[in-house]
Amino acid sequence: MLDATDISVCYEPHRILHGIDFHAAPGAVTAIVGPNGSGKTTLMRALTGETDYAGEVRLNNENIARLKPWELAAMRGVLPQATPLAFPFTVIEVVRLGLSRGVSAGNTDLIHRALARVDLSGFEGRFYQELSGGEQQRVQLARVLAQVWSPVEDGEPRWLFLDEPVSALDIGHQLQVMQIAHDYAAAGGGVVTVMHDLNLTAMFADSVALVSEGRILQQGAPEEVFNNALLSRAYHCDVRVNSAPSQGTFILPHAAKMAAE
Protein backbone atom coordinates (compact mmCIF):
# COMPACT_ATOMS: atom_id res chain seq x y z
CA MET A 1 0.00 0.00 0.00
CA LEU A 2 0.90 3.61 -0.48
CA ASP A 3 -0.72 5.83 2.11
CA ALA A 4 -0.05 9.53 2.22
CA THR A 5 -1.81 11.46 4.93
CA ASP A 6 -2.12 15.19 5.42
CA ILE A 7 0.64 16.09 2.94
CA SER A 8 1.52 19.76 2.73
CA VAL A 9 4.35 21.28 0.72
CA CYS A 10 5.49 24.88 0.85
CA TYR A 11 7.85 26.50 -1.59
CA GLU A 12 8.29 29.77 0.26
CA PRO A 13 6.33 31.95 0.16
CA HIS A 14 3.71 29.76 -1.55
CA ARG A 15 1.86 26.81 -0.13
CA ILE A 16 1.60 24.34 -3.03
CA LEU A 17 -0.16 21.36 -1.41
CA HIS A 18 -2.77 21.78 1.31
CA GLY A 19 -3.02 18.72 3.51
CA ILE A 20 -3.56 16.05 0.86
CA ASP A 21 -4.64 12.47 1.58
CA PHE A 22 -3.73 10.06 -1.20
CA HIS A 23 -3.86 6.28 -1.43
CA ALA A 24 -2.71 3.74 -3.97
CA ALA A 25 -2.94 -0.02 -3.90
CA PRO A 26 -0.63 -2.58 -5.46
CA GLY A 27 -2.25 -4.40 -8.34
CA ALA A 28 -3.78 -1.17 -9.61
CA VAL A 29 -2.82 1.79 -11.78
CA THR A 30 -3.49 4.97 -9.83
CA ALA A 31 -3.55 8.16 -11.89
CA ILE A 32 -3.11 11.74 -10.75
CA VAL A 33 -4.79 14.26 -13.05
CA GLY A 34 -5.38 17.99 -12.87
CA PRO A 35 -4.62 21.24 -14.67
CA ASN A 36 -1.13 22.70 -15.19
CA GLY A 37 0.41 23.95 -11.98
CA SER A 38 -2.19 22.26 -9.79
CA GLY A 39 0.50 20.38 -7.87
CA LYS A 40 0.68 16.95 -9.52
CA THR A 41 4.47 16.92 -9.84
CA THR A 42 4.81 18.36 -6.36
CA LEU A 43 2.61 15.58 -4.95
CA MET A 44 4.77 13.07 -6.82
CA ARG A 45 7.89 14.63 -5.31
CA ALA A 46 6.45 14.32 -1.84
CA LEU A 47 5.38 10.70 -2.42
CA THR A 48 8.90 9.79 -3.55
CA GLY A 49 10.64 11.75 -0.81
CA GLU A 50 12.22 14.11 -3.29
CA THR A 51 10.95 17.25 -1.63
CA ASP A 52 10.40 18.20 2.01
CA TYR A 53 6.81 17.84 3.13
CA ALA A 54 4.69 17.94 6.24
CA GLY A 55 2.58 14.83 6.88
CA GLU A 56 3.40 11.17 6.49
CA VAL A 57 4.01 8.93 3.49
CA ARG A 58 3.97 5.18 4.10
CA LEU A 59 5.05 2.78 1.37
CA ASN A 60 4.53 -0.94 2.06
CA ASN A 61 3.90 0.10 5.66
CA GLU A 62 7.21 1.89 6.08
CA ASN A 63 7.53 5.59 6.68
CA ILE A 64 9.62 6.65 3.68
CA ALA A 65 11.26 9.44 5.68
CA ARG A 66 13.00 6.74 7.74
CA LEU A 67 14.32 4.75 4.78
CA LYS A 68 17.78 5.13 3.25
CA PRO A 69 17.97 6.03 -0.45
CA TRP A 70 19.13 2.52 -1.35
CA GLU A 71 16.29 0.92 0.64
CA LEU A 72 13.79 3.09 -1.21
CA ALA A 73 15.51 2.37 -4.52
CA ALA A 74 14.92 -1.34 -3.97
CA MET A 75 11.20 -0.70 -3.46
CA ARG A 76 10.35 1.76 -6.18
CA GLY A 77 11.55 3.40 -9.36
CA VAL A 78 10.80 7.00 -10.29
CA LEU A 79 10.43 8.43 -13.79
CA PRO A 80 10.72 12.23 -13.59
CA GLN A 81 8.84 14.56 -15.91
CA ALA A 82 12.10 15.47 -17.67
CA THR A 83 15.60 14.10 -17.24
CA PRO A 84 18.51 16.10 -18.59
CA LEU A 85 21.74 14.13 -18.85
CA ALA A 86 25.07 15.75 -18.07
CA PHE A 87 27.50 13.68 -20.11
CA PRO A 88 27.40 11.84 -23.44
CA PHE A 89 26.32 8.39 -22.22
CA THR A 90 25.03 5.81 -24.69
CA VAL A 91 21.56 4.32 -24.34
CA ILE A 92 22.86 1.08 -22.83
CA GLU A 93 24.94 3.04 -20.33
CA VAL A 94 21.93 5.11 -19.26
CA VAL A 95 19.77 2.04 -18.69
CA ARG A 96 22.59 0.42 -16.72
CA LEU A 97 22.51 3.38 -14.31
CA GLY A 98 19.23 1.95 -13.04
CA LEU A 99 20.67 -1.38 -11.97
CA SER A 100 20.90 -1.57 -8.22
CA ARG A 101 23.98 -2.16 -6.15
CA GLY A 102 23.86 -5.92 -5.93
CA VAL A 103 23.12 -6.42 -9.60
CA SER A 104 26.38 -6.18 -11.45
CA ALA A 105 26.99 -4.56 -14.78
CA GLY A 106 27.15 -8.12 -16.11
CA ASN A 107 23.38 -8.22 -16.12
CA THR A 108 23.15 -7.02 -19.72
CA ASP A 109 20.23 -9.37 -20.22
CA LEU A 110 17.98 -7.21 -18.05
CA ILE A 111 19.08 -4.08 -19.90
CA HIS A 112 18.14 -5.62 -23.22
CA ARG A 113 14.78 -6.83 -21.92
CA ALA A 114 13.99 -3.38 -20.56
CA LEU A 115 14.93 -1.75 -23.87
CA ALA A 116 12.86 -4.27 -25.81
CA ARG A 117 9.90 -3.55 -23.54
CA VAL A 118 9.93 0.13 -24.53
CA ASP A 119 10.47 -0.73 -28.20
CA LEU A 120 14.07 0.49 -28.34
CA SER A 121 15.96 -2.67 -29.23
CA GLY A 122 18.83 -1.73 -31.49
CA PHE A 123 19.25 1.69 -29.86
CA GLU A 124 21.92 0.42 -27.39
CA GLY A 125 24.84 2.17 -29.03
CA ARG A 126 23.13 5.48 -29.79
CA PHE A 127 24.02 8.58 -27.79
CA TYR A 128 21.20 9.52 -25.44
CA GLN A 129 21.58 13.21 -26.12
CA GLU A 130 21.08 12.64 -29.83
CA LEU A 131 17.68 10.93 -29.46
CA SER A 132 14.29 12.58 -29.92
CA GLY A 133 12.35 13.67 -26.84
CA GLY A 134 10.02 10.71 -27.02
CA GLU A 135 12.88 8.26 -27.43
CA GLN A 136 14.70 9.81 -24.47
CA GLN A 137 11.57 9.44 -22.37
CA ARG A 138 11.38 5.74 -23.25
CA VAL A 139 15.08 5.22 -22.47
CA GLN A 140 14.44 6.70 -19.04
CA LEU A 141 11.45 4.40 -18.61
CA ALA A 142 13.67 1.44 -19.51
CA ARG A 143 16.16 2.59 -16.86
CA VAL A 144 13.38 2.71 -14.27
CA LEU A 145 12.02 -0.69 -15.35
CA ALA A 146 15.50 -2.22 -15.07
CA GLN A 147 15.71 -0.86 -11.52
CA VAL A 148 12.52 -2.56 -10.31
CA TRP A 149 12.06 -5.21 -13.00
CA SER A 150 10.07 -7.75 -11.00
CA PRO A 151 6.78 -6.25 -9.73
CA VAL A 152 6.90 -8.38 -6.59
CA GLU A 153 10.08 -9.04 -4.61
CA ASP A 154 10.16 -11.21 -1.47
CA GLY A 155 6.37 -11.10 -1.30
CA GLU A 156 6.34 -7.28 -1.23
CA PRO A 157 4.98 -5.25 -4.15
CA ARG A 158 7.32 -2.86 -5.89
CA TRP A 159 6.26 0.47 -7.31
CA LEU A 160 6.56 2.62 -10.39
CA PHE A 161 6.14 6.38 -9.95
CA LEU A 162 5.73 7.97 -13.37
CA ASP A 163 5.38 11.71 -14.02
CA GLU A 164 3.66 12.22 -17.36
CA PRO A 165 5.23 9.11 -18.92
CA VAL A 166 3.43 9.53 -22.25
CA SER A 167 3.47 13.30 -22.71
CA ALA A 168 6.13 13.25 -25.44
CA LEU A 169 4.98 10.06 -27.13
CA ASP A 170 3.07 9.29 -30.31
CA ILE A 171 -0.23 7.50 -29.95
CA GLY A 172 1.20 4.02 -30.58
CA HIS A 173 3.89 4.41 -27.95
CA GLN A 174 1.39 6.04 -25.56
CA LEU A 175 -0.65 2.86 -25.67
CA GLN A 176 2.47 0.73 -25.33
CA VAL A 177 3.70 2.57 -22.25
CA MET A 178 0.26 2.50 -20.64
CA GLN A 179 0.19 -1.22 -21.35
CA ILE A 180 3.52 -1.57 -19.50
CA ALA A 181 2.00 0.24 -16.52
CA HIS A 182 -1.09 -1.96 -16.70
CA ASP A 183 0.93 -5.19 -16.92
CA TYR A 184 3.16 -4.13 -14.03
CA ALA A 185 0.10 -3.64 -11.86
CA ALA A 186 -1.57 -6.81 -13.13
CA ALA A 187 1.53 -8.74 -12.01
CA GLY A 188 1.13 -7.41 -8.47
CA GLY A 189 3.17 -4.20 -8.55
CA GLY A 190 1.92 -0.72 -7.81
CA VAL A 191 1.81 2.11 -10.36
CA VAL A 192 1.26 5.78 -9.59
CA THR A 193 1.26 7.98 -12.66
CA VAL A 194 0.62 11.62 -13.43
CA MET A 195 -1.51 11.91 -16.58
CA HIS A 196 -2.65 14.68 -18.87
CA ASP A 197 -4.75 12.71 -21.32
CA LEU A 198 -8.08 12.05 -19.64
CA ASN A 199 -9.14 9.49 -22.23
CA LEU A 200 -6.01 7.38 -21.76
CA THR A 201 -6.58 7.73 -18.03
CA ALA A 202 -10.15 6.52 -18.37
CA MET A 203 -8.88 3.54 -20.38
CA PHE A 204 -6.04 2.44 -18.15
CA ALA A 205 -6.46 3.77 -14.60
CA ASP A 206 -8.11 1.77 -11.87
CA SER A 207 -8.21 4.78 -9.59
CA VAL A 208 -7.95 8.52 -10.30
CA ALA A 209 -7.11 11.42 -8.04
CA LEU A 210 -8.24 14.77 -9.41
CA VAL A 211 -5.96 17.56 -8.17
CA SER A 212 -6.87 21.21 -8.30
CA GLU A 213 -5.04 24.12 -6.70
CA GLY A 214 -3.11 21.93 -4.30
CA ARG A 215 -6.07 19.87 -3.11
CA ILE A 216 -7.55 16.57 -4.17
CA LEU A 217 -11.10 17.22 -5.29
CA GLN A 218 -11.89 13.53 -5.39
CA GLN A 219 -10.19 10.16 -5.61
CA GLY A 220 -11.95 7.05 -6.85
CA ALA A 221 -12.71 4.92 -9.90
CA PRO A 222 -12.61 6.89 -13.21
CA GLU A 223 -16.37 6.51 -13.69
CA GLU A 224 -16.92 8.25 -10.34
CA VAL A 225 -14.37 11.02 -10.69
CA PHE A 226 -14.93 11.84 -14.33
CA ASN A 227 -18.22 13.68 -14.29
CA ASN A 228 -19.12 16.91 -16.02
CA ALA A 229 -19.41 19.06 -12.93
CA LEU A 230 -16.17 17.97 -11.26
CA LEU A 231 -14.00 18.11 -14.37
CA SER A 232 -15.42 21.45 -15.45
CA ARG A 233 -14.74 22.83 -12.01
CA ALA A 234 -11.16 21.54 -11.95
CA TYR A 235 -10.20 22.57 -15.48
CA HIS A 236 -12.19 25.82 -15.59
CA CYS A 237 -13.84 24.96 -18.87
CA ASP A 238 -16.89 23.09 -19.96
CA VAL A 239 -16.03 19.43 -20.27
CA ARG A 240 -18.41 16.64 -21.29
CA VAL A 241 -17.99 13.07 -20.17
CA ASN A 242 -19.58 10.58 -22.55
CA SER A 243 -19.69 6.87 -22.70
CA ALA A 244 -19.97 4.62 -25.67
CA PRO A 245 -21.45 1.19 -25.20
CA SER A 246 -18.65 -1.39 -24.85
CA GLN A 247 -15.94 1.27 -25.28
CA GLY A 248 -16.13 2.91 -21.91
CA THR A 249 -15.75 6.53 -20.95
CA PHE A 250 -14.46 9.26 -23.22
CA ILE A 251 -14.13 12.93 -22.54
CA LEU A 252 -14.54 15.91 -24.86
CA PRO A 253 -14.07 19.63 -24.32
CA HIS A 254 -17.55 19.76 -25.71
CA ALA A 255 -18.98 23.08 -24.84
CA ALA A 256 -15.87 25.00 -25.89
CA LYS A 257 -16.26 23.64 -29.40
CA MET A 258 -19.94 24.54 -29.53
CA ALA A 259 -19.33 28.02 -28.20
CA ALA A 260 -16.73 28.64 -30.88
CA GLU A 261 -19.08 27.64 -33.70
Partner: protein, 358 residues
Protein backbone atom coordinates in the same frame (compact mmCIF):
# COMPACT_ATOMS: atom_id res chain seq x y z
CA UNK B 1 45.50 4.34 -30.62
CA UNK B 2 45.00 1.48 -33.01
CA UNK B 3 44.95 -1.19 -30.33
CA UNK B 4 41.53 0.07 -29.24
CA UNK B 5 39.97 -0.82 -32.54
CA UNK B 6 41.32 -4.34 -32.25
CA UNK B 7 39.17 -5.09 -29.21
CA UNK B 8 36.35 -6.88 -30.98
CA UNK B 9 33.02 -5.55 -29.72
CA UNK B 10 30.52 -8.17 -28.62
CA UNK B 11 27.33 -7.35 -30.55
CA UNK B 12 25.25 -7.84 -27.39
CA UNK B 13 27.30 -5.04 -25.85
CA UNK B 14 26.83 -2.38 -28.51
CA UNK B 15 27.23 1.01 -26.90
CA UNK B 16 28.99 -0.51 -23.90
CA UNK B 17 32.44 1.01 -23.77
CA UNK B 18 33.73 -0.70 -20.63
CA UNK B 19 35.94 -3.18 -22.49
CA UNK B 20 37.56 -0.35 -24.39
CA UNK B 21 38.01 1.63 -21.18
CA UNK B 22 39.72 -1.29 -19.47
CA UNK B 23 42.02 -1.81 -22.44
CA UNK B 24 42.89 1.87 -22.24
CA UNK B 25 43.78 1.51 -18.55
CA UNK B 26 46.33 -1.14 -19.46
CA UNK B 27 47.83 1.03 -22.16
CA UNK B 28 48.00 3.99 -19.79
CA UNK B 29 49.91 1.98 -17.20
CA UNK B 30 52.59 1.34 -19.83
CA UNK B 31 52.58 4.96 -20.98
CA UNK B 32 52.98 6.12 -17.39
CA UNK B 33 55.83 3.69 -16.85
CA UNK B 34 57.57 4.98 -19.98
CA UNK B 35 57.04 8.59 -18.92
CA UNK B 36 58.52 7.84 -15.50
CA UNK B 37 61.60 6.27 -17.09
CA UNK B 38 61.96 9.28 -19.36
CA UNK B 39 61.67 11.61 -16.41
CA UNK B 40 64.38 9.65 -14.54
CA UNK B 41 66.63 9.56 -17.59
CA UNK B 42 66.57 13.23 -18.57
CA UNK B 43 68.11 16.12 -16.73
CA UNK B 44 70.65 18.93 -16.75
CA UNK B 45 73.49 16.80 -15.38
CA UNK B 46 75.14 14.24 -17.63
CA UNK B 47 74.09 11.33 -15.49
CA UNK B 48 72.69 8.52 -17.60
CA UNK B 49 70.02 6.29 -16.15
CA UNK B 50 70.97 3.62 -18.64
CA UNK B 51 74.64 3.58 -17.65
CA UNK B 52 73.69 3.57 -14.01
CA UNK B 53 71.37 0.59 -14.48
CA UNK B 54 74.03 -1.32 -16.43
CA UNK B 55 76.51 -0.52 -13.70
CA UNK B 56 74.13 -1.77 -11.04
CA UNK B 57 73.46 -4.94 -13.04
CA UNK B 58 77.21 -5.58 -13.18
CA UNK B 59 77.44 -5.25 -9.43
CA UNK B 60 79.11 -1.86 -9.44
CA UNK B 61 78.02 0.64 -6.83
CA UNK B 62 76.59 3.99 -7.96
CA UNK B 63 78.98 6.88 -7.80
CA UNK B 64 78.10 9.36 -5.07
CA UNK B 65 77.23 11.95 -7.71
CA UNK B 66 74.97 9.63 -9.69
CA UNK B 67 73.34 8.52 -6.49
CA UNK B 68 72.47 12.10 -5.59
CA UNK B 69 71.27 12.99 -9.09
CA UNK B 70 69.15 9.89 -9.53
CA UNK B 71 67.87 9.19 -6.05
CA UNK B 72 67.70 12.63 -4.44
CA UNK B 73 66.91 14.88 -7.39
CA UNK B 74 65.25 13.02 -10.24
CA UNK B 75 63.41 10.31 -8.32
CA UNK B 76 61.55 12.62 -5.90
CA UNK B 77 60.75 14.90 -8.83
CA UNK B 78 59.32 11.99 -10.78
CA UNK B 79 57.31 10.70 -7.83
CA UNK B 80 56.00 14.18 -7.10
CA UNK B 81 55.10 14.70 -10.74
CA UNK B 82 53.07 11.50 -10.75
CA UNK B 83 51.30 12.36 -7.50
CA UNK B 84 50.52 15.94 -8.53
CA UNK B 85 49.43 14.98 -12.07
CA UNK B 86 47.15 12.22 -10.79
CA UNK B 87 45.73 14.49 -8.08
CA UNK B 88 44.93 17.34 -10.46
CA UNK B 89 43.42 15.16 -13.19
CA UNK B 90 41.24 13.13 -10.82
CA UNK B 91 40.11 16.26 -9.00
CA UNK B 92 39.07 17.74 -12.33
CA UNK B 93 37.11 14.61 -13.24
CA UNK B 94 35.41 14.45 -9.83
CA UNK B 95 34.49 18.15 -9.86
CA UNK B 96 33.08 17.83 -13.37
CA UNK B 97 30.95 14.91 -12.22
CA UNK B 98 29.84 16.76 -9.11
CA UNK B 99 28.96 19.96 -10.95
CA UNK B 100 27.60 17.92 -13.86
CA UNK B 101 29.62 20.02 -16.23
CA UNK B 102 32.76 19.34 -18.27
CA UNK B 103 34.10 22.84 -17.63
CA UNK B 104 34.48 22.56 -13.87
CA UNK B 105 38.17 22.52 -13.05
CA UNK B 106 39.91 23.26 -9.77
CA UNK B 107 42.07 25.90 -11.46
CA UNK B 108 39.24 27.63 -13.29
CA UNK B 109 36.73 27.85 -10.49
CA UNK B 110 38.94 29.12 -7.71
CA UNK B 111 39.64 25.94 -5.75
CA UNK B 112 43.36 26.08 -6.54
CA UNK B 113 43.35 29.78 -5.65
CA UNK B 114 41.75 28.98 -2.31
CA UNK B 115 44.27 26.23 -1.69
CA UNK B 116 47.06 28.62 -2.66
CA UNK B 117 45.78 31.19 -0.22
CA UNK B 118 45.81 28.55 2.52
CA UNK B 119 49.38 27.63 1.63
CA UNK B 120 50.53 31.25 1.68
CA UNK B 121 48.84 31.87 5.00
CA UNK B 122 50.80 28.93 6.40
CA UNK B 123 54.09 30.08 4.89
CA UNK B 124 53.79 33.70 6.04
CA UNK B 125 51.84 33.39 9.26
CA UNK B 126 52.94 29.87 10.27
CA UNK B 127 55.63 31.43 12.46
CA UNK B 128 52.96 33.01 14.63
CA UNK B 129 51.64 29.60 15.66
CA UNK B 130 52.61 28.37 19.13
CA UNK B 131 55.68 26.14 18.80
CA UNK B 132 53.82 23.04 19.99
CA UNK B 133 51.11 23.42 17.35
CA UNK B 134 53.67 24.06 14.61
CA UNK B 135 55.62 20.99 15.72
CA UNK B 136 52.48 18.92 15.63
CA UNK B 137 51.93 19.67 11.94
CA UNK B 138 55.63 19.59 11.03
CA UNK B 139 56.13 19.18 7.29
CA UNK B 140 52.42 18.98 6.79
CA UNK B 141 51.56 22.51 7.88
CA UNK B 142 51.50 24.00 4.38
CA UNK B 143 49.66 21.01 2.88
CA UNK B 144 47.02 20.99 5.59
CA UNK B 145 46.50 24.74 5.28
CA UNK B 146 46.16 24.39 1.49
CA UNK B 147 43.68 21.56 2.03
CA UNK B 148 41.56 23.72 4.34
CA UNK B 149 41.71 26.62 1.87
CA UNK B 150 40.68 24.37 -1.02
CA UNK B 151 37.94 22.77 1.04
CA UNK B 152 36.38 26.06 2.11
CA UNK B 153 36.45 27.43 -1.42
CA UNK B 154 34.88 24.27 -2.90
CA UNK B 155 32.05 24.37 -0.37
CA UNK B 156 31.51 28.06 -0.98
CA UNK B 157 31.52 27.52 -4.71
CA UNK B 158 29.00 24.70 -4.49
CA UNK B 159 26.69 26.68 -2.21
CA UNK B 160 26.78 29.71 -4.47
CA UNK B 161 26.30 27.98 -7.80
CA UNK B 162 23.88 25.18 -6.90
CA UNK B 163 20.25 25.78 -6.14
CA UNK B 164 17.76 22.99 -5.49
CA UNK B 165 20.18 20.44 -6.88
CA UNK B 166 20.86 22.28 -10.10
CA UNK B 167 24.19 23.87 -10.87
CA UNK B 168 24.28 26.97 -12.98
CA UNK B 169 27.37 26.92 -15.18
CA UNK B 170 27.46 30.67 -15.55
CA UNK B 171 27.20 31.21 -11.79
CA UNK B 172 29.85 28.58 -11.17
CA UNK B 173 32.37 30.18 -13.52
CA UNK B 174 31.61 33.70 -12.28
CA UNK B 175 31.82 32.60 -8.65
CA UNK B 176 35.17 31.02 -9.54
CA UNK B 177 36.41 34.34 -10.89
CA UNK B 178 35.25 36.10 -7.72
CA UNK B 179 36.90 33.50 -5.50
CA UNK B 180 40.11 33.68 -7.51
CA UNK B 181 40.20 37.48 -7.31
CA UNK B 182 39.51 37.45 -3.60
CA UNK B 183 42.18 34.85 -2.93
CA UNK B 184 44.59 36.78 -5.14
CA UNK B 185 43.98 40.00 -3.22
CA UNK B 186 44.51 38.33 0.15
CA UNK B 187 47.64 36.67 -1.21
CA UNK B 188 48.88 40.10 -2.25
CA UNK B 189 48.41 41.42 1.27
CA UNK B 190 50.32 38.47 2.71
CA UNK B 191 53.15 38.85 0.19
CA UNK B 192 53.38 42.48 1.27
CA UNK B 193 53.93 41.59 4.90
CA UNK B 194 56.21 38.58 4.22
CA UNK B 195 59.89 38.80 5.13
CA UNK B 196 62.71 38.12 2.66
CA UNK B 197 63.12 34.41 3.33
CA UNK B 198 59.37 33.85 3.11
CA UNK B 199 59.28 35.87 -0.10
CA UNK B 200 61.81 33.56 -1.73
CA UNK B 201 59.72 30.53 -0.78
CA UNK B 202 56.62 32.23 -2.14
CA UNK B 203 58.12 33.22 -5.48
CA UNK B 204 59.48 29.77 -6.03
CA UNK B 205 56.19 28.20 -5.09
CA UNK B 206 54.00 30.59 -7.04
CA UNK B 207 55.54 29.76 -10.40
CA UNK B 208 54.03 26.31 -10.42
CA UNK B 209 56.94 23.96 -10.78
CA UNK B 210 58.23 20.55 -9.87
CA UNK B 211 61.79 21.91 -9.72
CA UNK B 212 61.81 22.19 -5.96
CA UNK B 213 60.91 18.55 -5.50
CA UNK B 214 62.51 16.94 -2.48
CA UNK B 215 61.66 13.85 -0.51
CA UNK B 216 60.43 16.17 2.23
CA UNK B 217 57.85 17.63 -0.12
CA UNK B 218 56.89 14.22 -1.43
CA UNK B 219 56.30 13.10 2.13
CA UNK B 220 54.28 16.23 2.83
CA UNK B 221 51.96 15.70 -0.13
CA UNK B 222 51.78 11.93 -0.50
CA UNK B 223 49.46 11.01 2.41
CA UNK B 224 46.70 13.46 1.43
CA UNK B 225 46.94 12.64 -2.27
CA UNK B 226 47.04 8.88 -1.73
CA UNK B 227 44.12 9.09 0.68
CA UNK B 228 42.16 11.13 -1.85
CA UNK B 229 42.97 8.65 -4.62
CA UNK B 230 41.93 5.77 -2.36
CA UNK B 231 38.46 7.34 -1.94
CA UNK B 232 37.98 7.69 -5.69
CA UNK B 233 36.61 4.19 -6.46
CA UNK B 234 33.79 4.78 -3.96
CA UNK B 235 32.66 7.89 -5.84
CA UNK B 236 32.31 6.36 -9.29
CA UNK B 237 28.81 4.89 -9.05
CA UNK B 238 27.44 7.99 -7.38
CA UNK B 239 28.95 10.36 -9.93
CA UNK B 240 27.50 8.26 -12.75
CA UNK B 241 24.07 8.49 -11.16
CA UNK B 242 24.50 12.21 -10.61
CA UNK B 243 24.62 12.67 -14.39
CA UNK B 244 20.82 12.19 -14.19
CA UNK B 245 20.51 15.00 -11.65
CA UNK B 246 20.42 14.93 -7.86
CA UNK B 247 16.83 13.77 -7.53
CA UNK B 248 17.17 10.88 -9.96
CA UNK B 249 20.48 9.87 -8.37
CA UNK B 250 18.77 9.64 -5.02
CA UNK B 251 15.91 7.63 -6.56
CA UNK B 252 18.33 5.00 -7.80
CA UNK B 253 19.78 4.60 -4.35
CA UNK B 254 22.60 7.12 -3.98
CA UNK B 255 22.98 9.09 -0.77
CA UNK B 256 23.56 12.35 -2.61
CA UNK B 257 24.49 14.47 0.38
CA UNK B 258 27.14 11.98 1.47
CA UNK B 259 28.43 11.72 -2.08
CA UNK B 260 28.79 15.49 -2.32
CA UNK B 261 30.55 15.79 1.02
CA UNK B 262 32.98 13.00 0.18
CA UNK B 263 33.68 14.35 -3.29
CA UNK B 264 34.33 17.87 -2.00
CA UNK B 265 36.69 16.58 0.71
CA UNK B 266 38.47 14.41 -1.84
CA UNK B 267 38.96 17.30 -4.27
CA UNK B 268 40.12 19.64 -1.53
CA UNK B 269 42.63 17.09 -0.21
CA UNK B 270 44.10 16.29 -3.59
CA UNK B 271 44.19 19.86 -4.90
CA UNK B 272 45.39 21.24 -1.57
CA UNK B 273 48.32 18.85 -1.36
CA UNK B 274 49.20 19.29 -5.03
CA UNK B 275 49.09 23.07 -4.84
CA UNK B 276 51.06 23.09 -1.58
CA UNK B 277 54.07 21.36 -3.15
CA UNK B 278 53.86 22.34 -6.80
CA UNK B 279 52.01 25.66 -6.93
CA UNK B 280 49.30 26.38 -9.45
CA UNK B 281 49.58 24.04 -12.43
CA UNK B 282 46.62 24.58 -14.71
CA UNK B 283 44.64 22.70 -17.34
CA UNK B 284 45.58 19.12 -16.39
CA UNK B 285 42.24 18.79 -14.59
CA UNK B 286 40.23 19.82 -17.60
CA UNK B 287 42.21 18.41 -20.52
CA UNK B 288 42.73 14.88 -19.20
CA UNK B 289 39.13 13.93 -18.33
CA UNK B 290 37.88 15.54 -21.52
CA UNK B 291 40.24 13.51 -23.71
CA UNK B 292 39.26 10.34 -21.89
CA UNK B 293 35.52 11.01 -22.25
CA UNK B 294 36.04 11.45 -25.97
CA UNK B 295 37.92 8.15 -26.18
CA UNK B 296 35.95 5.80 -23.91
CA UNK B 297 32.93 7.69 -22.61
CA UNK B 298 31.94 9.31 -19.35
CA UNK B 299 31.55 6.20 -17.14
CA UNK B 300 33.28 7.26 -13.91
CA UNK B 301 34.19 3.70 -13.00
CA UNK B 302 36.89 3.99 -15.65
CA UNK B 303 37.14 7.74 -16.11
CA UNK B 304 38.54 8.37 -12.63
CA UNK B 305 41.21 5.67 -12.69
CA UNK B 306 42.21 6.51 -16.24
CA UNK B 307 42.37 10.20 -15.34
CA UNK B 308 44.83 9.43 -12.56
CA UNK B 309 47.04 7.43 -14.93
CA UNK B 310 46.91 9.86 -17.85
CA UNK B 311 47.24 12.90 -15.58
CA UNK B 312 50.37 11.46 -13.99
CA UNK B 313 51.88 10.60 -17.38
CA UNK B 314 51.01 13.95 -18.99
CA UNK B 315 52.45 15.96 -16.14
CA UNK B 316 55.70 13.97 -16.28
CA UNK B 317 55.92 14.59 -20.02
CA UNK B 318 55.19 18.30 -19.55
CA UNK B 319 57.90 18.38 -16.90
CA UNK B 320 60.40 16.73 -19.24
CA UNK B 321 59.53 19.33 -21.89
CA UNK B 322 60.01 22.11 -19.35
CA UNK B 323 63.46 20.72 -18.54
CA UNK B 324 64.77 20.27 -22.10
CA UNK B 325 63.19 23.04 -24.14
CA UNK B 326 65.52 25.82 -22.96
CA UNK B 327 68.19 23.59 -21.38
CA UNK B 328 70.27 24.09 -19.37
CA UNK B 329 67.72 26.56 -17.99
CA UNK B 330 64.28 25.34 -17.05
CA UNK B 331 60.80 26.65 -17.85
CA UNK B 332 58.21 26.57 -15.04
CA UNK B 333 55.92 23.66 -15.82
CA UNK B 334 52.85 25.86 -15.36
CA UNK B 335 53.91 27.69 -18.54
CA UNK B 336 54.14 24.42 -20.46
CA UNK B 337 50.73 23.15 -19.33
CA UNK B 338 49.14 26.54 -20.04
CA UNK B 339 50.68 26.75 -23.52
CA UNK B 340 49.39 23.30 -24.39
CA UNK B 341 46.20 23.46 -22.35
CA UNK B 342 44.98 26.95 -23.29
CA UNK B 343 44.28 26.22 -26.96
CA UNK B 344 42.82 22.85 -26.01
CA UNK B 345 40.48 24.55 -23.61
CA UNK B 346 39.33 26.97 -26.30
CA UNK B 347 38.61 23.98 -28.49
CA UNK B 348 36.47 22.44 -25.74
CA UNK B 349 34.61 25.73 -25.40
CA UNK B 350 33.90 25.72 -29.13
CA UNK B 351 32.44 22.22 -28.87
CA UNK B 352 30.40 23.08 -25.77
CA UNK B 353 29.01 26.43 -26.88
CA UNK B 354 25.48 25.07 -26.94
CA UNK B 355 25.74 23.87 -23.36
CA UNK B 356 27.06 27.17 -22.07
CA UNK B 357 24.03 29.05 -23.28
CA UNK B 358 21.79 27.10 -20.90
Amino acid sequence: MTFLTHVMPDPALAGDRSQKARALSFALVFILFAAALLSLAIGASGTSLWDALIGLANGEALSARDRIVLLDIRLPRTVMGMLVGAALAVSGAVMQGLFRNPLADPGLVGVSAGAGLGAIVAIVLGGLLPATVAAMFGYYLVSVAAFVGGWLSTILLYKVSTRRGRTSVATMLLAGIALGALAGALQGVLVYIADDAQLRTLTFWGMGSLAGATWTKVIAAAPLILLALAIVPFLARGLNALALGEAAASHIGISVQRLKNTAILMVAGAVGAAVAVAGGIGFIGIVVPHLLRLMVGPDHRYLLVNSALLGAALLLIADVISRVIIAPAELPIGIVTATLGGPFFLWILLRQRGLLDM
